[in-house]
Assembly symmetry: C2
Homo-oligomer: 315 residues x 2
């Protein structure tokens, strides 16, 4: 692995961000163990700062900037958790932040980014407009672009969730995460590779946004694809840097249906009594689908976040 | 106070039940502190065994039975959390349990009680039928009736939630609970009286089920009243044993509208990222309503439980 993703770099990332983020709790449920036939440990990133694991990568990326870069500030385009996380991290460290957001983004998300002190730039709701908006911001303010997942410092930041989990529950057989752009998955795979070699890493992905699954099994990164799923944090395309790490260190990617996602989501609400976003239920849904295969295994499940529009809950 | 509710009895209750129940976490949220203007400490009984604080009282009541009574087993009538809690406690301690439930109770609640190994007896959905059903069970099986709140051992059991909270956050100015039958409120008032004399205890109650408020301010226990509220755990009438304790040791009862309950509930889901039942939001709603009065106070809020029908969430 390159230096920015070495074992030492990951240890340093954890040390760097730990004063700023939450060490999130790990929950268990006897009822869910019974239903799944496995022993499950839920790492609750819904309780993370800004409500998702994205606070880890964003904080790390910002901390790694040079003083000169910090002066210029940061920018990204996002309709979701990364925008909030970057705005929060930038505010925390006292540097300017610009977030390009689609004009049809929910009011509450735009307000959240503004609440964290970032300047919001609205654009048309498509990727070219978002990229043009970002370029305009960079040209005007000289901001450093912090991408949501396709960056070593982001991946190293996201790796800290699994590192904490492995510290707390050292003898896991398996860790599973959802996969969208692959920041959390690649980070988890690296942490597990360095700190718990015996433990496997797999991912869950919605059937309706299965580019990581297709890329993983074809050996070639799928760049263009239609995506439709309730797990709206996972609509993104697997990143270029993320893909080879995942190919090398991940054992399997399991796709799940919308019905399976909703069923898993419901069980998390009913049994763990916590609020998570649909993307968070995808990994648990994969374990439930493959219950026989994972019987009696000790499994860490990373719940990615809890920023959900309550009015759109599917139950 | 009578011996069963002395300081020593409460300490003993805590010791007796602690091997069986969860010491539930206390959560904080910077966002909710900002919104309320106070410093809030949420004691999360939604994470308690069986999903509510009722597991505390039920466990305590069962543990206090004589060997002869344990052989006869226990019974209650309940459409809600107390039935589940008693079934669970009885199973845990290996004694028979009968729960009389209205035939229109949700399937999922009936299934939950059966899952905890209790025998369910369905009856017509009214109080006389429930009482007749209970009497029939007692006549047939010789079961000991464990009431949901009107009993010293239940009150002493419920007192342990506040005792834990005061241990963890010793310098609270105020503790607030919801009030229905008054088990949690009387227990909290006793714990606070014995273990944190400087701390006040108040309660929140739905306007639509305000018998505790009316009783508290008239000095006479209101026994018959119409109740309608989304906070369905609080439809019950204040208990005979509970009332004088509350009169002596509680400072105020604040009533809140249905709109205020729903708004508080939403904030708990959005900001604390936890699933609670509407009854749990009533205490927080009271603090929000009286924000000026409680500005800058350190306030413990007991969230009573998390057994909610997801299909009936008001958002």
């Amino acid at each position: 692995m390159k230096d920015t993703l070495s074992k030492e770099a990951l240890l340093e990332a954890r040390q760097l961000i730990s004063p700023h983020i939450h060490q999130t709790p790990v929950l268990q449920s006897r009822a869910l163990n019974k239903i799944s036939g496995a022993e499950l440990f839920f790492k609750c990133e819904n309780f993370q700062k800004t409500g998702s694991f994205k606070a880890r990568g964003a904080t790390h990326a910002v901390l790694r900037l040079s003083d000169e870069e910090k002066k210029r500030g940061v920018a990204t385009h996002s309709s979701g958790n990364h925008g909030q996380a970057l705005a929060w991290a930038a505010q925390k460290l006292g540097i300017p932040c610009h977030v390009v957001m689609p004009e049809n983004a929910p009011e509450v998300k735009i307000a959240a980014v503004r609440n964290y002190g970032a300047e919001v730039h609205l654009c048309a709701p498509n990727l070219p407009a978002r990229e043009a908006g970002l370029k305009a911001v960079q040209d005007e303010f000289g901001s450093v672009f912090i991408p949501p997942y396709n960056h070593p410092n982001i991946i190293a930041g996201q790796s800290t969730a699994a590192a904490e989990l492995l510290d707390e529950i050292p003898d896991l057989d398996l860790i599973i995460t959802p996969v969208g752009g692959g920041g959390l998955l690649a980070g988890t795979a690296l942490s597990t590779h360095y700190f718990a070699e015996r433990c496997q890493v797999i991912a869950g992905e919605p059937e309706g946004a299965n580019d990581a699954f297709l890329s993983f099994y074809s050996g070639e990164r799928v760049k263009e694809h239609q995506s439709q799923t309730i797990a709206d944090g996972l609509l993104t395309t697997l990143g270029e840097i993320n893909f080879p790490i995942i190919q090398e260190l991940v054992s399997d990617i399991i796709t799940v249906s919308e019905t399976e996602i909703i069923e898993a989501l419901k069980l998390i609400y009913q049994r763990l009594k916590i609020v998570v976003e649909p993307s968070s239920a995808v990994a648990f849904a994969a374990i439930l689908q493959q219950a026989e295969r994972y019987e009696n295994r000790r499994i860490g499940i990373i719940l990615s976040g809890g920023n959900v529009d309550l009015a759109k809950l599917p139950f």
